[in-house]
């Protein structure tokens, strides 16, 4: 006797789990940018440049997740 049956797209659940990490990562990046700007406002330009590079590298994981969720769900 089956205990529970769930239907739906496991790809979307997988994407949801995979978006936790990059969300925290991007939050950490920009938190450190804000703190660094608060300590030393003159360094804002250099920090923002590095912040955008770090943002894109971290965001890549979340974006790869949503693209593969489509690929693996076969829609």
């Amino acid at each position: 006797m089956t205990l529970m049956e769930l239907t739906g797209s496991l790809g979307i659940v997988g994407y949801g789990l995979g978006a936790i990490g990059p969300g925290i990562g991007v939050g950490l990046i920009f938190a450190s940018v804000i703190q660094g700007t608060a300590r030393q406002p003159e360094a804002r330009g250099a920090m923002m440049g590095t912040a955008w590079i770090g943002f894109a590298v971290t965001e890549a994981l979340a974006i790869i997740g949503i693209a593969l969720a489509f690929v693996f769900s076969g829609q």
Partner: protein, 262 residues
Amino acid sequence: MGWLTPLETGGFQAPGVDSFDFPPPFPAVPWLDKYMIQAIVSVFLVAGFWLIMARKNKMVPTKGQFVGETAYFFVRNSIARDMLGHDFKRYLPLLIALFSFILVNNLYGVFPLTLLPTFSHVGWAYGLAALVWVIYNAAGIIRHGPGGYLKRTCLPSGVPWYMWWLIIPLEFISNIIVRPITLSLRLFANMFAGHLLVLVFVIGGEYLLFESEPIVNKVAGAVALVFSMAIFGLEIFVQCLQAFIFTVLTAQYISSAIAEEH
């Protein structure tokens, strides 16, 4: 489906992977589909732009020359010189070509006549990442020799001998196998997901506004259509950022491949 066709059942066809299906317009030439046509036109645009920029040079720059000089110095100073150090001039043509090509092909996604970023087809991203992989490995092998390059890549200086069994496979996989994969997938997935987002807002908004009955749905559809303009703006930003990131990472990989021990 490459364009909207009404269903007999009249339901909502959500945009998906098959929204990126563009069959070739001339069946006699099967490799010339919309992506290839866009890429070929972009090659002519980029080559024409930089050739014209290299030609008319006055001491007091005109407005057109100022635009070209700004673009050139942006790649030269912020990307090439900062990442590569003193021998950046060998790799500057590659970085400028990469940046211009990726930027033009990305901006095709918001240009009214094309409305399709070329790198939303994964083969294009794989090709560029394969080129970058060959270049940074070849640069390292030419500078240090094959054994020396592998040793520098897989074994950072200062690692104690009892950690080598862990560090060497990890560094090998991370530097030589995973780098081209993430480089290509980052560009492809950003273009794919961004274009899909615009499609969802526009197609969903149009369906809600025109083909569904309840008033709340119609209002939601109108709001979605208006908000898709903001998503368009986000798309422009993401496309420029991804072109910049690809170039910066290429410069970074070449720099760490040819770096001297210090």
